[in-house]
Every structure is written in structure tokens, then in C-alpha cells.
Symmetry: C2
Subunit: 367 residues, 2 copies
DNA sequence: CTGAAAGCGCTTACAG
DNA sequence: CTGAAAGCGCTTACAG
């Protein structure tokens, strides 16, 4: 006689088959196992059918009397049965989940992208799990391992660091991967990106059309040390060249990627023998820092120096003067990433063509 | 003769036990199963030991000859074995993962909190998975179900909507839950929060000390319709009362929670017969919108109207004048949430006392 | 329409 | 130090 039977004695009104009380009793003796709720077998036992039949109802496979179906549904409700997705994933070899690895959650660019991914995943019946690498390659690797180990069907990643070796290895190992705003050509990896070069060109062309000729490039020093030249710098140079404006290395100002970095950059510009008449910034945070410093130094924006940022974060609208910026539709980019991933998951043998999204220039008061 | 044996024929140089080639060959025939990499059994077969022994090495349980250990480690490397965390979680009844459910990823408050949670989880050897409810109770419920179904050991959640019924139900069902900035008293639920009332008091006391008496409360209309009165309003009123300043309902301005809402609120204030001489805003986004509108209307900040926001987001530093704000240490709050959750996971039977973190007032140029 | 059997990849008691 | 057996909770072929 174990604790189950003693518990059964209280359930005298329930005659034939096992009851809710049994099921909870089964779990009561060991409080540490409280975590695992009712199982398929529990539901089956309550109703008096096989687990297979309950499984059919849970998965809406049909092939089942409405009567038993209703009883099973009622029992599921009663015992609070929820499928164990680990068990299901183990056997189905797919979990209907995808992973998203942020390089830097604090980047204002990121949350809106993540929202797009989530909404898009939702509409495909998938759950998105987000992890962050904090721009650390080791953490990226462990996030990747963890996500994969937990059975995600694929991963969207903002690559951390300079090398993509681990991503390539993971993809070769059978994990579908989509990289964002990064050029990688490897089997099992698809690419989605915004047309950053084109965006930079738009910004600089715009400044030139406003009569500016000494256009500074305020750039994240980190981005400039990467092996691949910054796409913003490529666009900056090509727009200058297209208009016959000479490239002046003295107008490239490197700084650290922060508000204060933007301020420092502005101070450097003002200290130069020939200050610029416009600034194209690597991103909006740098642009906002620079603008603040210029304003507090008595420089008029845009009259003396015009400014254009990159990303079009919410705060562009909040400052005075409002900041012009290159807008990336992050929501759309998120959707595109999910679509690429879905294609990769469904056809692992196909090559998925890179997808690039156009960007806009939003002209406001700062230029 | 199946495809395996034919593949084995090529591996003539490898005599005794199964080799890497076999393992990959086993998977090659069916491309769709590429996803599942090498298993414990594969490694065992390659080395010529039992799965149990490989398991011991993988988990560092010791009790194993250094020689076999090395051979197993080498084989793991060779075949690229990675543990299937779903299988492990199924049997261990814990996954060493926790879930975090955001109400709104786009809220500037959130990412920094999430970073704190992630770092803290990391240091405990846990992986954090983030999902979002988009302030939708149904999506919160499905995120909760999904996370739970995938075996997370507990969940930290920013509750969506007005009722906590589903959270209470989930907790009763055995899922440890920590709620953030919300008062819920139920078994299995722990609370972590910032002292929002105290923060509001600090802000209003500060404005009073600056000689302001007509202090507007610019508040998210949504927050005001919740059943529980906004803690910011409670603090606002108590600070007024403490200084003997009469509460004037006309100074409470409701608006939607956005930059534009902040601007609209400011317009309402200016249109009043007696405009305020200070604004205490529900959050920084509202404060920034209001400040922008006031400045563009020729109001001097802080001379004519002082402004204090709430949350201390990065952009408080980026605007001119810099915005004073109530600072919540989001990183610390994230750590606290993980600690509470850990306590709940380790002692499901204990009641975990609510934990409240103090907040600061950061006085800048706007007040 | 329903069920008995096998197994996903791993770990937990046990034995040797 | 090492292994054979059982089983976590589910689904996938099969039979009836």
C-alpha cells in the first residue's frame, strides 16, 4: 500500500476509473517533482482511453468520436494538462521555435527589429526566444549552443566580433542560420540586410544638395577597425566621388560609440583648422551627442553645421532641432529575416539568396 | 544490406570499432534528419564504451580512467557531439534556463533590465530566454505556456494587463514566477520592484524645494485607468500633502504614452487658464515630448516651467536642456529579480519576501 | 475509431 | 571503473 491507495480511499464517490484526485495525489508525495504537471497518460487514465487517443485530440488529428473527444477535452481542462514541449520536440525533431541572438540589446536599433521578428514568427506559429551575445564571441557561441541544444529550428543572429567561423561551423552542423547586416557566403547561412551603403549615399548626397562640401564622417572607431571597411564609409566616399567632392581624410573623425563619443567627436571637429559644414554620423546616438555639443558651443544647426544620423531612432523626433536620419525599416527587416530562416528550414539543401532592403532618408530640421 | 553497410565498405582502413564515417553515414541517407547531430550512443560506439560512460565524462562525474576519458573527449570532438538539452531536461526535470517576459520590448526601460537579468542568470549557470507579451494578456499567456512547455525552471515577468489571474494559476501549477513592479501576493510568486512611490515623492519634493507650487502630473492615461492607482500619482500627492501644497485635479494631465502624447499634454497645460510652473512626468518619453513642445512655444525650461521625468533613459543626457529624472537602477533590479527567482526555484515551499529597491533623483538642467 | 509497441536522447538508480 | 535496464513524456508507424 503506497500513498496513492490511501489517497484513493478519500475519493470514494468516484467509482470506475482514476480521478483527478489520484493524479494530483500521485504528485503530492514528492514536492520537488511538483514542476511536472499532468501528462498525457494521466489524462488517458482519467478518461479511460489510451495515451495515443489523447494525443490525437491534443494535436487535432481527428479520427475520434465526438463523445470521447469531449470527455478528453474536459479531462485535459480538469487536470490542467499542458503538453511537454521537450518530449514532443525530442521525437518530432522540430520545436516550432526560433532563436534570435542580439549582439547588443542596449542598441536602440535592436528592440524594434526583435519585435518584427517576433510578430513574424508568431504568424508562422513559431515562438521566438531571444538571447544576447553582448558582442562577445564566446557568449555568442554559448548562446548558439544553448539555443541549438534546446532544439530551436533555426537562429537569426547579429554577428558579434569580426569572424564568422563559429557561425559557419554551426551551419555546417545543420543549424539553419540567418545573419543580419553582415556578408557571409556559406552553405546553411542566409543573409538579410539593409542597404547601408545606399543609405549613406542618400545622406551625403542630401548634404551636398544643400550646398555642403566639407562633410565630416563621424564614425565608431570600432567599426573602422573591422576587416571589412564600414559600409557607411563606402557610401560616404562614393557619394562624394559622384559629386566630384574630394575626399579629405581629416574629415573622418573616429570616436567611441556613445553619446559622449559623439560630443568628443564634435569637439575635435571644432578644434580643427577648418571645421566641417556638415556631419554624417555612424548612428543617431553619435549624431545626438555631436549635435548637443555643437549647440552648446554656440554653433547653429543646421545653419553653420548640418547633421544627419543613421537608424532613425525615436529620439530623432524628440530633440530640438529634430534630427535628420537614414531610416531602416527594422520591422520589415525582422520579417525578412524570419522569411529567410523559414526558407532555410524548409529547404536545407537550397541556397537562399541574400535579401537586401532599401532604406529612406528622413529629412528633418537638422539638415 | 542497407545503405550503412555499403558505406562501411569504404571505411576499410578502420578496423575494429565504428568510426566517424559510420556515424555520418548513418545520417547521410536522410537529409531531413541532418538536424540531429551525433548522440551519446554515437560517441560510445566510436570509442567502444557504453553510453553511460560517455555521459559520465560529459557531465564531469569522474569515476573513469584518464585514458578512456581522453579517448571519449577526442571522440566527442571528432563527431561534434553536443548534448541534446531537451532529452536532458526531460529526465532531469530542470533545464537551467529561465524565461523573461517583456510587456513591451520597445519601452526604453526594458533592455537594460534584461541585460541585468541575463548577466545575473549567466553567473548562475542559467540561460535566459526572452519572450514578449506586447502588453497583451493572451500573448502573455501563450508566452508563459511556451516557456513552461519548453521546461524553463522559472519565469520573470512584467505583467501585461490589469489582472494577474493567469500568473497566479501558473504559479499554483508549480511554475516559479517573479513579477516586476507589480504587487501580487500569491503562493509561488515573488515580487521585485523599484520604490516608485518614493521616486515620485523625491521628484515632487525637489520641485517644491525649487519654489514650484503649481506642479502638473503628466500621466499615461492607460496607467490611470488600472484598478490600482498609479504609484507615481500616490507619490505625487503624498509629497504635495507633506509640504502643504493643495492637490489640484486640474493639474493632472492624462495623455497617451508617447512622444506625441507628451507634446499634447504640454499644449493642454499651456491652454489652461493657469499654466503650471513645473511638470512631473510619468516617464521620460512623455517628459521629452512635453519639453520639446514647451520649448517650441517659447517657454523657458526650467525658468518658466521645470520638468522632471521618470526612468532616466539615456536620452535624458542627449537633449538640451538635459532632463532631470528619477533613476531606477535597472541592472540591479534585474539582478534582484533573478535572485528572487532562484530562491523560489530552490525552495518552492518557502514564501519569498518582496524585495524593493530604492531609486535616485538625478537633477540635471531641466529643473 | 482506437490501441500496443517502439523509440527520440538522455540520466537515474542499480549491479558488478 | 564500467555497464544493462528502465524511463522522462511524448509521437510515429503499425494493427486491428
Amino acid at each position: 500500500m503506497d500513498s496513492r491507495s490511501s489517497s484513493l480511499e478519500h475519493a470514494t464517490e468516484h467509482p470506475r476509473w482514476a480521478t483527478i484526485e489520484d493524479v494530483s495525489a500521485r504528485r503530492t508525495p514528492n514536492p520537488s517533482s511538483r514542476r511536472s504537471g499532468a501528462t498525457l497518460a494521466d489524462v488517458a487514465q482519467v478518461v479511460g482511453v489510451s495515451a495515443r487517443t489523447v494525443s490525437r485530440v491534443v494535436n487535432g488529428e481527428g479520427g475520434c468520436t465526438p463523445a470521447t473527444r469531449d470527455r478528453i477535452l474536459a479531462a485535459i481542462e480538469e487536470v490542467g494538462y499542458r503538453p511537454n514541449l521537450m518530449a514532443r520536440g525530442l521525437i518530432r525533431r522540430r520545436s516550432d521555435t526560433i532563436g534570435l541572438i542580439a549582439a547588443e540589446m542596449l542598441d536602440p536599433f535592436f528592440p524594434e527589429f526583435a519585435e518584427g521578428v517576433q510578430r513574424s514568427a508568431d504568424s508562422l506559429g513559431r515562438t521566438m526566444f531571444l538571447a544576447s551575445s553582448n558582442t562577445d564571441r564566446e557568449r555568442q557561441a554559448s548562446a548558439l549552443m544553448s539555443l541549438r541544444g534546446h532544439g530551436v529550428d533555426g537562429v537569426i543572429v547579429f554577428p558579434a566580433g569580426d569572424s564568422a567561423d563559429d557561425l559557419v561551423a554551426m551551419a555546417a552542423d545543420g543549424l539553419p542560420i540567418v545573419v543580419v547586416n553582415t556578408e557571409i557566403d556559406a552553405p546553411g547561412i542566409a543573409v538579410v540586410s539593409a542597404d547601408i551603403v545606399g543609405g549613406a549615399e542618400l545622406a551625403v548626397e542630401h548634404l551636398i544638395s544643400r550646398g555642403r562640401r566639407r562633410i565630416a564622417l563621424l564614425i565608431d572607431e570600432h567599426a573602422r577597425t573591422l576587416q571589412t571597411p564600414s559600409r557607411r564609409e563606402i557610401g560616404y566616399r562614393s557619394a562624394l566621388a559622384a559629386s566630384g567632392v574630394a575626399f579629405d581624410p581629416l574629415l573622418v573623425v573616429e570616436t567611441n560609440n556613445s553619446l559622449e563619443g559623439g560630443r568628443q567627436g564634435a569637439r575635435k571637429m571644432l578644434a580643427a583648422s577648418q571645421p566641417p559644414d556638415a556631419v554624417f554620423a555612424y548612428n543617431d546616438v553619435l549624431a545626438l551627442g555631436a549635435m548637443q555639443e555643437l549647440l552648446s558651443s554656440g554653433v547653429r544647426v543646421p545653419d553653420d553645421i548640418a547633421i544627419v544620423g543613421f537608424d532613425d531612432i525615436l529620439m530623432c523626433e524628440a530633440v530640438t532641432p529634430r534630427l535628420s536620419s537614414v531610416r531602416i525599416d527594422r520591422d520589415l527587416l525582422g520579417h525578412g529575416a524570419v522569411e529567410q530562416l523559414q526558407a532555410l528550414i524548409e529547404h536545407p539543401e537550397h541556397r537562399v539568396e541574400p535579401r537586401r532592403f532599401p532604406v529612406d532618408l528622413v529629412v528633418r530640421d537638422s539638415s
